[in-house]
Symmetry: C2
Subunit: 271 residues, 2 copies
């Protein structure tokens, strides 16, 4: 069965975060959260048993640009009260991915039956928040205008490992004219909790990207002659590290099906 | 006679601004101020008759990136008390340039005899302040390491004219690796009073620069394969506009012979 579209279940850009979470909790919203409650912070979810959670926490601490931590739950507690009073990470995302030994085994819309007293939930900032800030400031983002996914690439820059978690830094690329690139650096520098400033700009080969037209994830986005490719650390980095770690159990959000929090994007601005 | 070096007249990086100005006032210091009282703001001086001062003030207001105004004197008053209690712009710079009808006619070390009741002094921020901030943050500047002048170029970007003042935007170029370029954008964004963030990076042809190895002012600085040229608005812009305006009388600092103010560079940081 095709998942119900957000509009068909009565949620949209101006819904409250609680309405979005309620629609997901009720099983009505089972598809992506892109553009829903669009002034609010959405987060990437990672759930791990306590045995691996400490390693993953150190991995995030050592790699803050790709893995900006917004919240970490108490072990066994499915709530994230700092992100919203009523949040239950077992039901409030439209769809999940369940990984066993590094392999995707299921994509349920609720994980209550999988919950255990030793699970820890991590919420990581995602680029939706800074993209909204860029658009608000008049910086055009071609992948948004085209309705595409952002183009993402594995680089030859390594993350700092922790326990079983390791792997390449994955970056997202947005082509911008120089003046917009400079403005985008200023704007995203204000948002360290959602990847912050770019990590590279200009020649892709310097970070091991050989062909911009062939992204490793997402959709290719053309770079025009008067544009510079600008690269940000990307939330796919921890997902790749998670696959590399082949932990016995991990639960994540399904792509695009994020947790919508009560935080406003602008609350993440550092100045 | 060769001008006395700063060291030979007993001033250096750790002198106070008042000591530097005193040495200039006494006629002992007649050469450049680069590196003197290095924690303090140095400014470019422009002196104009009141008849042209209003136009120049509007020119600066309309072109804040190349022409960041730190202070404007009262007509006929040679003091700039907000920049230092004892400042007398007629004597406190090591060397001046006198322009009549757009032509350089003299380079005296004191302009007391030229002072008139209708003259207005403008002090403009210069890149020394943000370069110090970059160096303090560990960003290497090749022209500084080489002991060269920064490379400067006329662009095809026009300033917004005001009265007789018009001309191209002149930029300075610093070659930086991508990570340093991003950091330099963050750092210089904090200093709008001294040119602020870059106005361009990457392909020089997009702003009308055809050959980086042949700057219009200053010294050529090599750009390595893994570097991006980064361009800032430059204080030569108002000097070029001043020459274009062919005003009956203008007095400026001689190149490198700036007014050393009591302000600390860090006081200009906007956050």
């Amino acid at each position: 069965m095709k998942p119900a579209s957000p509009a068909s279940v009565g949620v949209g850009p101006d819904s409250t975060p609680a309405q979005i979470r309620g629609a997901a909790r009720a099983g009505a919203l089972t598809s992506h959260t892109s553009g829903l409650a669009h002034r609010h912070v959405q987060g990437n979810l990672v759930i791990l048993p306590q045995a691996q959670a400490a390693d993953f926490l150190r991995f995030c601490q050592r790699n803050p640009k790709p893995c900006p931590l917004l919240a970490v739950s108490e072990p066994g507690d499915p709530r994230l009260p700092s992100m919203g009073e009523d949040i239950d990470v077992r039901s409030d995302l439209p769809r999940y991915r369940v990984w066993r030994d590094g392999r995707l085994v299921d994509q349920p819309t609720d994980i209550s039956e999988l919950w255990r007293g030793d699970l820890v939930a991590f919420l990581l900032g995602c680029s939706f928040s800074f993209e909204q800030a860029l658009i608000d400031e008049g910086v055009m983002l071609r992948h948004v205008d085209l309705g595409h996914n952002v183009a993402m690439y594995r680089t030859t820059m390594d993350t700092v490992p922790a326990g079983p978690f390791h792997g390449p830094l994955v970056v997202s690329m947005r082509p911008l004219r120089a003046a917009d690139a400079i403005r985008a650096i200023q704007i995203t520098s204000r948002f360290p909790a959602v990847h912050g400033a770019p990590i590279h700009l200009g020649d892709p080969a310097l970070i091991g990207i050989t062909d911009l037209s062939r992204p490793d994830y997402g959709d290719p986005v053309p770079v025009l002659d008067d544009e510079t490719p600008v690269f940000w650390a990307c939330g796919v980095t921890p997902q790749a590290a998670l696959e590399n770690a082949r932990v016995p159990l991990a639960i994540t959000h399904a792509p695009g099906c994020m947790l919508v929090t009560d935080l406003f994007n602008h609350q993440l601005a550092s100045f």
